[in-house]
């Protein structure tokens, strides 16, 4: 038979009859339909589960591991949090601590964390698409799910969804949150916490209402052009202004400035002039600057280029190029005259001292700063243009400026920035299309997203940017919808105001800048809420007169305010009467008169049973403990009742203290109290102090 005939016969056999053809197409359709379940069988998670079974079969504890392992799709379902996480389908070994050495994903056990996966799910912290069962869909950004897995460096942001207070384990998040307040982000952008409270700034940008009294137009110009050229630690960002724009804004600011009521004392000015150009007088003034502990708050660049001092107040390296002498001497005398809400305390300096310090500061100049700034007298057009620019750039969001209203919601609200849909973002070229990359790039270089954007340029390093991204990502939709039982709200803001004359003094000295009392104030110095229960009156009076540090290792110290005796009495009386702990009965224990045997027993307990010398110093020659305060004078400083209470439970008196709770018996505590109360310092030191 010829080949074509054979083929024809074959065709007849298979397709000769319409019913036969139907049979073949039916078969083809059935075969194709069978592919779909086959495709399902070769899904990612089937493969990973088979891989896991192979992995554990080779291990010594294979039987236990196999008993823990459940094949098929696994899920963690938490309806009240909207969690359907099937991650454990492939990540089978999350809880298998014996697999610690396994490094290949998806079989790595989870590091130890305070939460259980079955209570929190996975996607609440890691993001990604929890419900997905394929690698791509679960981890990457897709058209139907724009929230890819968070990189490890942004994981802390997820803690911030529930925890509104700082956590020990989230340094990046804590830093980012602090930066949001410190760098003035929240002046332009409103950010609300899930409880509805608005995040407020801590940077306290100065009022510009009397700016012409304080500084020159040339300095304003130079500052606007590049704030960091004046001070590397300046929080004011760079608005990338053109020369003309900076000229016009400086023109507007000086012309809109009104005179402040400054107390100008000619004697102080004369003294300042003398000190400014005299090296010997400079040295003397420098020691006054040191004794007043100005450096606790203000930093100055030393010869090596390092900043020395605190960052509470502005850096003073080039203050002489900025401040006018009349303003500076008035400011040093009483800063509240110029700026009532300022954080700077009112030192009681004499006119002579004011002059010395003013002269000392005026000498701190930088010849280069204003060398190239030459400004003509402003025209009305320039002033009008400057005003327009001030409005455009939202300067009044931060600064008080005469004639400009503070704009409401100048920049977009960021309360839900952490869950902003990616398809609504306009990305700058080269920025990967993820939310965290967008935020990072925007913070790093805002104007790269378009030259017309108003957001200024900050000088953040990579770690700071990551910290900010963490803080911003934590403000997302989930944080707002999290069930209340799961959240840890922020500490409520305290509006505590001390009363009476003492209250006026406390505000005049700005104690709250460093100390916290009843929840209000800074964390630089000890909490004073129970100070009256804690210390002896005599010691407190001495301390106000001549503040002596309790912890020699610290640079920041309590300044000497030169208070009068009457003022000291007012303050001390108030503290001893009002700042009392209900848990301490000051009169329940004698301040002295313990039996020698008890003191001796206390000493033994101190050195042997409890090993207190590891952290504290009593014998200055032998002890090397620098973690806790020195206890050489503790007997003349603290009350016996406080020490006894402290021995029993330190964290009850000061939550969060490092002092461990030792579960002492009453006898031990009493003996230790007796021993510590006997530590009153040597007579010689006492005499020197007076």
């Amino acid at each position: 038979m010829r080949l074509p005939d054979r083929l024809e016969k074959l065709r007849q056999l298979f397709f000769g009859d319409i019913v036969r053809t139907f049979g073949w197409t039916s078969l083809l359709l059935l075969l194709l339909l069978a592919v779909a379940p086959a495709k399902h069988f070769f899904a990612d998670w089937h493969r990973y589960q088979r891989g896991y079974e192979r992995l554990i079969s080779k291990r010594s504890d294979a039987v236990t591991l196999r008993r823990h392992f459940e094949p098929g799709i696994q899920q963690i379902w938490l309806p009240e949090m909207g969690v359907v996480d099937r991650c454990t389908t492939c990540h089978s070994a999350l809880k298998e601590t014996t697999l610690k050495d396994v490094t290949t994903q998806p079989y790595r056990p989870h590091p130890v964390i305070p939460h259980k996966p079955e209570e929190m799910g996975c996607s609440i912290c890691h993001r990604g698409q929890g419900a997905a069962t394929s690698v791509e869909e679960a981890h990457k950004s897709t058209l139907a799910w724009e929230e890819p897995l968070l990189p490890a460096k942004y994981l802390e942001s997820s803690c911030g969804q529930c925890h509104q207070q700082d956590l020990k384990g989230t340094p990046q998040l804590n830093l980012g949150r602090q930066m949001l307040s410190q760098y003035g982000c929240v002046h332009c952008h409103t950010i609300k916490r899930p409880d509805g409270s608005v995040i407020t700034g801590t940077d306290d940008p100065p009022s510009l209402a009397h700016i012409a009294d304080k500084t020159t137009r040339e300095w304003i110009y130079a500052w606007l052009k590049d704030p960091q050229a004046y001070s590397t630690t300046a929080t004011m960002p760079n608005f990338r202004l053109s020369d003309d724009d900076a000229r016009d804004i400086s023109a507007f600011l000086t012309s809109s400035s009104t005179p402040a009521s400054l107390k100008v004392v000619q004697a102080s000015l004369d003294e300042a002039k003398k000190v400014k150009d005299n090296a010997a007088l400079q040295t003397k003034a420098a020691s006054l600057y040191g004794e007043s502990f100005c450096a606790s708050c203000h930093a100055v660049q030393n010869a090596a280029g390092n900043l020395v001092g605190g960052n509470v107040g502005p850096e003073l390296t080039k203050i002489g190029s900025k401040a006018k002498p009349e303003w500076l001497q008035a400011w040093v005398r009483n800063p509240h005259d110029y700026d009532p809400p300022t954080g700077m305390p009112h030192y009681r300096f004499t006119d002579q001292e004011v002059g010395e310090l003013t002269g000392f500061l005026l000498a701190k100049t930088d010849a280069d700063l204003l060398a190239n700034v030459h400004l003509e007298a402003p025209t009305p057009d320039q002033i009008a243009h400057g005003k327009r620019l001030v409005n455009d750039y939202g300067c009044a969001s931060c600064h008080e400026i005469n004639g400009i209203k503070r704009p409401e919601n100048f920049a977009p609200e960021l309360t839900k920035i952490g869950s902003k849909p990616v398809n609504q973002l306009a990305f700058a070229p080269g920025v990967p299309h993820t939310l965290y990359d967008y935020i990072g790039a925007k913070v790093k270089q805002p104007r790269a997203f378009g030259p017309s954007l108003k957001m200024p340029q900050y000088t953040f390093n990579a770690a700071q940017i990551d910290a900010l991204v963490n803080a911003l990502l934590s403000h997302d939709e989930r944080a707002l919808t999290m069930p209340a039982a799961k959240t840890v709200p922020a500490l409520p803001v305290s509006h505590y105001e001390p009363a009476g004359k003492a209250g006026q003094l406390i505000n005049d000295l700005n104690c709250f800048e460093c100390h916290t009392i009843n929840g209000r104030g800074g964390d630089m110095a000890p909490d004073l809420t129970w100070e009256g229960s804690s210390v002896q009156r005599e010691w407190l009076v001495q301390f106000f007169r001549n503040p002596n540090t309790l912890r020699p290792a610290l640079i920041r110290r309590m300044p000497k305010f030169n208070l009068t005796d009457a003022e000291i009495n007012t303050l001390t009386d108030y503290i001893m009467t009002v700042y009392q702990s209900p848990k301490i009965d000051r009169d329940s224990m004698p301040l002295a008169g313990y039996a020698p045997g008890q003191v001796e027993l206390g000493k033994q307990l101190y050195y042997s049973k409890y090993g207190c010398q590891a952290c504290h110093i009593i014998d200055t020659k032998q002890d090397k403990g620098y973690i806790g305060p020195t206890l050489t004078h503790v007997g003349s400083r603290l009350t016996a009742a406080w020490i006894y209470g402290w021995m029993k439970d330190p964290s009850m008196l000061r939550p969060g203290t490092q002092e461990p709770k030792r579960n002492m018996s009453d006898e031990d505590a009493r003996a230790l109290t007796a021993f510590l109360m006997s530590q009153k310092g040597s007579e010689k030191q006492e005499a020197k102090k007076r």
Partner: protein, 241 residues
């Protein structure tokens, strides 16, 4: 077919021995019988038609199954009334309408046009002119040509006023073809032109409608980006480059 007054025939039950049915025609005075095909060959629906239909459906099913195995149905993020995608597009078969909405007020593009289209489709078989199906310009040539030009030019001007270039292009091409048909002599050597000349009015309207439908839908689907602006399909997602 009307029943004659007097019965002069006998009705008989046919048997299946005859392969094809016998056509019975009543010839009245005005018409004349004209049977073109006398003996059509006829097949049984079972099995010939049914199995053929089943095969056709199965082949289509195979194609659809293959497509479904390799191309996933689109799915985007959860519906969110506060985030409008740009552009928000209707299903593809309504994109022709959405394209019209871009030019005309909603009452015209969204209500009037679709209603008219549906009505026009319904009445097609009820108009004699559609049934007779003779060449548009075969009779009354001059008068019809005048009407044709008047209507065409008026419609084109209307489209230009509303700046509907997308709809204008198919219209102009259709009008050009109709003009070609109108100028074709009966004995034209070109078979294409002869067939054009034989097309009735309904053909022209329907073809123009189909042309517009395809062009508008294609433009709405492929060439429209953010803000319903014109984008090229190859310039990628977002389109604004």
């Amino acid at each position: 077919m009307s029943t004659p007054d007097s019965k002069d025939f006998v009705a008989r039950v046919g048997s299946d021995q005859r392969k094809s049915p016998v056509r019975v025609a009543f010839v009245t005075r005005r018409t004349s019988a004209q049977v073109k095909a006398h003996d059509e060959s006829i097949v049984q629906s079972f099995p010939e038609v049914l199995f053929r239909a089943a095969i056709a459906v199965q082949v289509l099913a195979c194609i659809l199954v293959l497509i479904s195995l390799f191309f996933n149905a689109p799915l985007e993020g959860l519906a969110d009334a506060s985030h409008t995608p740009n552009p928000a597009k209707a299903p593809w078969y309504f994109l022709g309408l959405q394209e019209l909405l871009h030019y005309f007020p909603p009452v015209v593009a969204g209500v009037l046009v679709p209603t008219l289209v549906v009505l026009a489709l319904i009445v097609i078989p009820y108009f004699n002119i559609n049934i007779e199906a003779e060449g548009l310009f075969a009779k009354d040539r001059d008068k019809r040509l005048k009407i044709f030009w008047a209507v065409s030019i008026a419609f084109c001007i209307f489209l230009i006023i509303f700046d509907v270039i997308v709809a204008l292009v198919p219209t102009v091409i259709t009008v050009a073809l109709m003009a070609l048909a109108a100028t074709t002599p009966a004995n034209s050597p070109s078979a294409f032109r002869r067939s054009l000349a034989a097309k009735p009015l309904s053909f022209w309207i329907m073809s123009w409608f189909l042309f517009e439908l395809v062009v508008l839908t294609a433009v709405g689907t492929l060439f429209r980006g953010p803000g319903w602006s014109w984008v090229w399909p190859w310039s990628g997602p977002g389109g604004v480059k």
